[in-house]
C-alpha cells in the first residue's frame, strides 16, 4: 500500500486497526472540545485492542508473564473534535528496535480530515526480572510480520527533554482517582496534572497543540509529586514531575498554539 506521508492514515491496511468514537457530551472541556483525558485513554485502549487483534496483546503476553509498558507518548493535533463530532483512531506498529517498538496513531474524522497524530514507544517487561525483553527474539518471530515499515506519521519525533532553569510549580499527592487498574498513577492522568499547571487565561486564547511525554518511573497512591516547569520558547513549556523531591517520574513538553 503506498503511503502518503503528508496525509498518513491506514484505513483498511490489514496490519492496522481503526476504532470509531464520537465526542459525547460530558467528555469535553469548557471550550467544547474533547478532553485530552478522554482522547489519551482512548489511544491507550486502541493500542491494547489492536495488539490483541494481531496476536500480541496484553492477555497473550501475560501468559509469558510479560506486560507492555508505555515509555514515550507524543500527541500532536491540528484541532480537537467537538461535541457530537465523530472521530476515528487508527493505530499500527512501524518497527521494532531491540527493547522498544514504535506504535503510531492517526486521529481523523474517518473521511480524510486529519485531527492529528500520535506516536508512542513501548517496551515489553518481564514481570519476574522487571527487565525489558528483546523484541527481536520473541517466539515465532513475535509480531515482526505485523509491522507497517516506513510509516511514521508526519510529526516531529520526541526529543530529549532537559530542564535547566526550572521553577517550582507546586506539589500534589497522588490519590485514589489518579490510579489505574494496576495501582499506578494512570499515564494520561499525568497529562491532566500538567495541563492544570496553566491558568484558564491560557486556554481562553490557545489550545495545546503538541504534548510530548517521557515516562521514567511509576508513581503510586500517596506519593507526593512535585512539578517543575520552564518555558523554553513562546508557548512551549518543559515540565518535570518528580517524586520524593528528586526522582523524575515524567518529563514532558507542552506546546500551545
Amino acid at each position: 500500500m503506498p503511503l502518503n506521508k503528508d496525509l498518513l492514515y491506514m484505513k483498511g491496511h490489514p496490519h492496522s486497526s481503526a476504532f470509531d468514537f464520537i465526542v459525547e457530551p460530558f467528555s469535553e472541556d469548557y471550550t467544547g472540545r474533547l478532553t485530552w483525558h478522554v482522547l489519551g485513554n482512548h489511544l491507550l485502549r486502541c493500542a491494547s485492542l489492536h495488539a490483541g487483534e494481531h496476536g500480541f496483546g496484553y492477555e497473550y503476553m501475560l501468559t509469558d508473564n510479560r506486560a507492555w509498558v508505555l515509555s514515550r507518548l507524543v500527541i500532536e493535533l491540528n484541532e480537537m473534535p467537538r461535541t457530537f463530532e465523530p472521530y476515528v483512531i487508527e493505530t499500527w506498529v512501524s518497527r521494532i528496535f531491540r527493547q522498544f517498538t514504535d506504535r503510531h496513531f492517526a486521529i481523523t474524522d474517518g473521511k480524510g480530515r486529519i485531527y492529528g497524530y500520535a506516536t508512542s514507544t513501548w517496551s515489553l517487561i518481564d514481570l519476574n526480572s522487571r527487565q525489558p525483553v528483546d523484541l527481536t527474539t520473541l517466539d515465532n518471530g513475535g509480531f515482526v510480520e505485523k509491522l507497517i515499515p516506513d510509516s511514521e506519521p508526519p510529526i516531529k519525533v520526541p526529543g530529549r527533554i532537559r530542564l535547566k532553569d526550572a521553577e517550582e510549580a507546586g506539589t500534589r499527592t497522588a490519590r485514589y482517582c489518579d490510579l489505574d487498574i494496576n495501582g499506578h498513577v494512570n499515564s494520561i492522568r499525568y497529562i491532566d496534572m500538567m495541563l492544570d499547571l496553566f491558568p484558564k487565561s491560557v486556554y481562553d486564547t490557545a489550545a495545546p497543540k503538541r504534548i510530548e511525554v517521557a515516562y521514567c518511573l511509576e508513581s503510586y497512591c500517596e506519593d507526593v509529586l512535585s512539578f517543575h516547569k520552564e518555558e523554553t520558547a513562546p508557548g512551549t513549556t518543559l515540565i518535570e514531575i518528580r517524586k520524593d523531591g528528586s526522582l523524575p517520574v515524567v518529563k514532558a513538553a507542552i506546546t500551545f498554539g
Copy 2:
C-alpha cells in the same frame, strides 16, 4: 404498569429511557470497578438524553432561555460493575413540586441484577433572572404527563447534611481539567475530589456504597476550594467543600461498606 418497590426498574415503560454501556478498560479504578467519575457523568448524560427524548431537554429549554440545574444527587450501590461487564442506566421522572423535579435512575445488568440506584433533584433556572421557574406553570402542562408517579427507588431520600465539628482536610484550586462545558467545576468532579480525601487503605477493604451530594453554589476555575470533613458514624463521613474559605459549594455524605 405495576411497580415492584423492592426491585424497581422500568425497562420498557414509555416514560422511561434505558441506555446500554459496558465497562471499558481504562474506565476502572485500581480494584477493577467502574469509576464513580464515569458512572456519574453517564448518569448526567442519560438524564439529558431522556429529557431530550421526552420533549423537555436542554436544547428545548434553551429556546426559552432556561437551563436545568442539578440540586441533589444520591447514588447508592450494592456493587459497581467490573471490566467488560455490561450495564444499563434507566432513568425516569417521578414528580414535580413547584421549583423542583425528582429524577431517578436504576443501574442494572439489563437482566434483573441491580447494581444500584440513584435519585436526583433538579431545578429549571431562568437564565435572565437566575431564578428557578415554577415547573407547574410550564406551557402545555410541561412534562407533567411524562412522569411515572409513585416510583421512588428503594433508597433513602437525601437528608439534611450539617457538619458540627468538622476537621480541615486541605484545599485545592479548581483548574482547567475540573471544568465542564459551561466553565463551572463539573458536578461529578466534586465527587472525585471528595473520594480523594480518603487514603488508599480505606479502598483496600471497602468501597463507597452511598454518596449523597447537595449542590449549593457553582465554583469556577482558580477558585480555592477548602475541604471540611467529619465522621459521624463508622464508615460515614460528612464533607463540605467551601470556596473563599466560607461559602458552601457542596455538602455531601459518603458511606463506605
